[in-house]
Symmetry: D2
Subunit: 261 residues, 4 copies
């Protein structure tokens, strides 16, 4: 028989479980919500896509999904590497769990000056922050995707003129402390590309980036090695992985490399 | 011979063209940028994906792409149906064109109260605004995608108990004046669904929406007809098209309908 | 009260409707199914994503969705422009409708020889066939997306060396008769690009395509105009639209043009 | 100075490297190609999206990308778990590498009989095969995504009638031997869902699956546990991970769980 008295609605999720199987992560995902990200200098409004989960012990049938969403709706602080451990511990408490995990992916915008004209414009980067935590401890990971230009050394070397080039994505995944900002990772990556990208380029700037790329040919192998070497010098990073994907302008597939330090 | 004097860089785009073919639209697309949208009550920060283009007469070789991006970087006002014609005319002037077009797609968030507990949470909707304009005239179109619950009338009727239901997208495309806000369209659509969606539902709310959906079974055909009839009463809309797509819970494909008033 | 006798299950979709609103298209979409496409020379196995729909008169409550899927499961012939009208009429008959529409999108593979070494490899193109039909008449549309290399004329002109280039998509949408094959459209488009793409390129081939692209710089505006002029000479096409999108290697957005003849 | 003699084109990739950084994986990705998959009973034509890579020692500047694509174009055998180690070793030899990795994702179709009418239709599943190999050894992983119906136990328990349900994806990732076929994994998963999906359902079938789902309510937690227990009994699997994602019909986000045995 079904409950009609609203006070008596059964707590199905709260009942015991006899399957003897803990679940490493259970929660919600693909949850879009406005957020502020603590960018260099100031908090930046953006839109996050969130995942929240907790560990579920073998003895419990289910978690309480609505608490994740309530927590997100009540969150007012800017999201940041520095604040992530606090949020992780709050998840553990709110969901009565030993371990919690959350992830947020968002567009970060950086104001860049064109290399010759100095004209400023925003460029967008996709950043993901992940946090694994217990009541006492947390590990924070940043994933930063940096779009750049790559120019093929082989094509340059063997051709009488020109060289094929293309947009590439260089993606950094690293455990981070709050000594490092996403913008630091971005700048380090861009310095190693054949050229960096800009929102607005005037003609003198376009000449500059064209010639810069031709002067700095890099294979996908060069990109991951040079970026890895440069990131070694950035404090606050550990367990660094560098991926590069070139959306080849002469093929309909990508060249790809991944290097873990 | 190539130019070395920066003052003398050729304006290749500005040269004449002899192919006798006008281009209806040329510009930039997939340009992500922070923006504010003039939501009901207040401007809401969000992230837009922009397309900008102009008509290119047969006599011109190319347009000046960087001007579109500069215009976006200089834009400070909230984006809105009311302000779109001004932007369209500005595009015509800045690009020295007879006709301009722009489009921006973004996530709009609406604060909703759960139906029984009254707990408030945000729900996200995808909205696209399009504007076709000349120096004197502009037409603005809104595309509003509203996620809802649909419950199958056939499944309910023929089954001893239960009924399959699923998430559906109802998408409204309409020419609009500034008498109408996206939130008005959303509320009108949600009132016609088997049930509307919420970010947070407590148990009493979940009981309510489950029973509401079962009490309001709708085929994809019912959704487009009922929404179309309801939108007829909303002032400020014309050339209305209603689409519904049910991500069927019993199949691995969708049911789909489109109705143009 | 609910039916228990399987013989007596109500035909809810077949009941009359009083809302006085015809529905232009109702059916199924996002239906994946193996298929053969009548490529040049031979039928080619591939995977299609299908949409099927019919017009629903104002007097009918719903269509019979399962008939679309049954028709697809029983279809054995290769899909082609020549055969599409027969399928369209079959849809009208099977669904007892005045008008029917279907669409299928799939990957078409073409065997290409590298320009110097002659090494052969497959390249993939995305093709969509659409068919609007009545019991007596049908119009078939092909949408063919051709990935190519584009090299920027401005970048080449103003730079001391090099020129930015990138992968581009040129998309042709045209009403077609069975005088034209997708491969004819593809070859016509590729001849107008800065360079065409290949699956496999040996070093001598890479030198060739690098230099070919540098020798044939094209703006997005040039691509749509040159392709449009070339397609004018191809028999069997009408209502031709040409789109070009350059995934710019110096920006994080695309350049885009659309030209309708 | 640039080479003009085709015989003398430099092998840039083959030159030595002094950065002292090995690269775990370098190769090509997003390569679409027709393939046959060794399904139960017979080889099935489908379209694969391929990744191929090898380990690059610290001393080498680059790999030879075209060899991967040549190998794919020359591959004639059906792809299978049983044959994957041979392909992995061939990659090691062809690319002169100590370790190789490849991955192929594709749509697998299974012919299913509707539960009451027995009407047969195909259902599509997304399968990914991964293979890590050396010259002597290989590990093969299958990732099988199974779309199912899930019905919420809480919604059923607390509501006077009805229960929200939705399409869900259950994804199995496991090391496999050739004792196991993807179809075995699929059947095992489907038996644990609230209901399985079908391409075609007649009215009597729709009644059956509606009632079956109502009789088998499962949280996302139940899905991963019940599937994990069932997969324990399937020979040929190890390191099994089960994920479930419910595309909630009452929310605009997903419920999600992941369990590793």
């Amino acid at each position: 028989m079904k409950a009609n008295d609203l006070q008596l609605l059964a707590d199905v999720q709260g009942s015991p479980d006899s399957r003897h199987l803990p679940i490493q992560k259970v929660g919600v995902r693909r949850l879009r919500h406005p957020m502020r990200w603590q960018a260099k200098g100031q908090a930046q409004p953006t839109i996050g896509e969130f995942t929240f989960s907790v560990e579920l012990p073998a003895t419990k049938k289910g978690t309480h999904m609505s608490r994740f969403v309530t927590l997100l709706n009540q969150h007012e602080a800017p999201w940041s590497v520095a604040d992530a451990p606090r949020v992780g511990k709050l998840l553990c408490e709110t969901l009565e769990a030993e371990r919690a995990f959350f992830e947020v992916g968002f567009a970060l915008f950086v104001n860049k000056a064109a290399p010759v004209s100095g004209v400023s414009s925003l460029l967008d980067y996709h950043v993901t922050m992940r946090c694994e935590s217990t009541h006492h401890d947390a590990h924070v990971t940043l994933v930063v995707q940096v779009p750049v230009t790559s120019l093929c050394p082989c094509s340059k070397e063997i051709s009488a003129y020109g060289a094929h080039n293309q947009r590439s994505h260089i993606t950094i995944t690293a455990n981070v402390t709050d000594d490092v900002m996403a913008e630091d990772i971005i700048a380090t990556v861009e310095a190693q590309a054949s050229s960096e990208l800009y929102g607005v380029l005037k003609r003198h700037d376009e000449k500059f980036v064209t010639e810069r790329a031709y002067d700095n040919p890099k294979f996908v192998e060069d990109l991951v090695r040079d970026v890895a070497l440069a990131l070694k010098k950035l404090p606050g990073l550990s367990q660094v992985t560098v991926e590069a994907e070139n959306f080849e302008s002469i093929h309909n597939h990508s060249a790809y490399a991944i290097l873990t330090l």
